[in-house]
Amino acid sequence: MARERPFEVREFQPPKGLGRMIGIGLVALVALFLILGSFYQVEPEEVGVVLRLGVYTGDTAGPGLHYKIPFVDRVYKVPIQRQLTEELGFRTPGLPVRLEVARQDPKDESSMLTGDLNAATVEWVVQYRIVDPYKYLFRVRNVELTFRDMGEAVMREVVGDRTVNEVITVGRQEITQVAFQKLQELCDHYETGIQVDQVVLQDVTPPEPVKPAFNAVNQAEQEREKLINEAQSEYNQVVPRARGEAEQTVLAAEGYALERVNRARGEAARFSSVYEEYRKAPEVTRRRIYLETLGAILPKTGRKVVVDDAVRGLLPLLNLDAGRAAPPVRPAPPEGGGP
């Protein structure tokens, strides 16, 4: 087998000059790589940290195209202008996360104990910026994960010092402030090169099984307001009206009083005047008034019976009410009396 080979090799020998071409090609390739490796681009929000033979020169490169020495300089790009966020206790769907974060159950992050030994579910966001790229790169390994750990520890410390009511309602503002301060202190202590911008509480709720009971409290509160409002409106409907009616009663009484006194005055005056004249001729005035009165009333009265004192026994014969009380078709009542 080995003997046959030389024939074949000789047959397929490549044309002269190919080796040279390959050599040129290789050199060109190397040159291309060198050129490509000599330039790097820094995006507008980034800064390039250059290590020359492993040493940080103190130089950082701003946005744009820059030159570096191939194999000697190494560039780390750090987005110092960008506001970075970490979501703790929840994940916004569709937002990219690191594998280590994706593996964590957000529920583990969010469930915590409050100072009165109750449980609460806290979701929050930390916004931060990288202010010292050198520290960020070379002082702490896995800064982002460290930062998340710090965030959790700090939030639990703060929540653990407050009642469940404070955590869920009244203390939210204060919690973000205290957490912000403590987180910044811890960042400085760990030399992360991170500046915390803001800690923002998202959903802070009681644990799922307890939620209905919390809602029931809100409902009861509204019920209380409703009961009070109803009673109040009832009061408002009735009492002012009663005031008005009371005023009416008093005014009516005043009216009566006026009328009564005026009448009295009038009648008294009239009497006095008449009496004055009467005194001048009592006998004839008396008679006149009597006769006038009779004259006025006699036409109004239904029946007039004039009895002579000399005629006796007339009255028993009179069936006094006969014509009026008994209708013609009905038999007269047995005693002849009225209804």
Binding site: V140, Y190, E191, E245, A269, R286
Partner: protein
């Protein structure tokens, strides 16, 4: 032929140079070993370093703070309350030579830290009540005005921060004593939670507490409504009776005045009294007689006496 030899020689030279040069980056440190034995001072500064090719080997180590993440562990507090504790720590290689001799790799270091930190945390947890581990200070809680709450936080003697510092101190001491060439920066409680069985009873307690608040709201509402209704009744009674009293007073006064006026007019003399009686009677006849009235009159009376003749 000569050219080929030259090229090969150059290549070998280049290889030698390259394998005797190495770069230690920022955030790294290194140990040089010769036949497995460390030689020279540890390299703690970054830069271009030299070694003897083929003979010397290089172990690059981290200079940065490294993570230690504890497992979630079931522990018991002083009051025998089982809880789940998750801690983390940060540490770094302080003495690379010592580290290399004692531990050699980070994995080894993590294992040693597991032993030390888990033990210290467990000891500390067992020494304190749960409230001490959760709370940090004896601050006064802010009350919820809507709930009209009167929340109290149990008084604590030490608190989370003190315990944490204690753990850090003890663990640091043990790390130092073990001479591992490493240093602890910090230990933190990442998570403390109830175990499942306890959690349910805590939920029940929370539910009961909320129900209590809800009940209070309802009864407060009823009480307040009843109070308003009562006030309404009282107001009504007071308004109406006051009006009645006033009206009666006014009426009474008017009646009295009228009576006085009448009396003054009618009661001038015996004569005036008689005349009044006469006049009033006449007036009353006029007002009370109507078509229903039967009038039986005697001819001996004043009016008809003339029927029998004008005497």
């Amino acid at each position: 032929m000569k050219g080929t030899v030259l090229v090969v020689l150059a290549l070998i030279l280049a290889l030698l140079v390259l394998s005797s040069v190495f770069v230690v980056d920022e955030g790294q440190q290194a140990i040089k070993t010769r036949f497995g034995e460390p030689i020279g001072a540890p390299i703690t500064e970054p830069g271009l370093k030299w070694k003897v090719p083929l003979v010397d080997r290089l172990y690059v180590l981290e200079k940065r703070f490294l993570e230690w993440d504890g497992r979630v562990t079931n522990m018991q507090t002083r009051e025998k309350q089982p809880i789940l504790v998750d801690t983390y720590a940060r540490w770094r290689i302080l003495d690379p030579l010592l580290f290399f001799q004692r531990l050699r790799t980070e994995v080894q270091a993590q294992a040693r830290l597991d032993g030390i930190l888990n033990g210290e945390v467990r000891d500390a947890v067992a020494r304190y009540d749960l409230a001490e581990l959760i709370r940090t200070s004896d601050r006064e809680p802010v009350q919820d005005a809507v709930l009209d709450s009167a929340d109290k936080l149990e008084e604590i003697a030490h608190g989370r921060e003190v315990i944490r510092q204690e753990i850090l101190k003890n663990a640091s001491q043990r790390v130092r004593q073990a001479d591992l060439g490493i240093e602890l920066l910090d230990v933190q409680f990442k998570r403390i939670n109830y175990v499942d069985a306890v959690r349910d009873s805590v939920y029940q307690r929370m539910i009961a507490e909320r129900n209590r608040i809800a009940d209070r709201f309802r009864s407060e509402g009823q009480a307040e409504a009843a109070r308003i209704r009562g006030t309404k009744e009282r107001e009504l009674q007071s308004i109406q009776s006051e009006a009645f009293r006033l009206a009666q007073e006014i009426i009474g006064k008017a009646d009295a005045e009228a009576t006085e006026i009448y009396a003054r007019a009618y009661d001038q003399s015996a004569d005036s009294r008689a005349f009044y009686a006469f006049l009033k009677s006449m007036e009353t006849y006029g007002e009370t007689f109507d078509a229903e009235t039967w009038l039986v009159l005697s001819t001996s009376g004043e009016f008809y006496r003339y029927l029998n003749g004008a005497r």
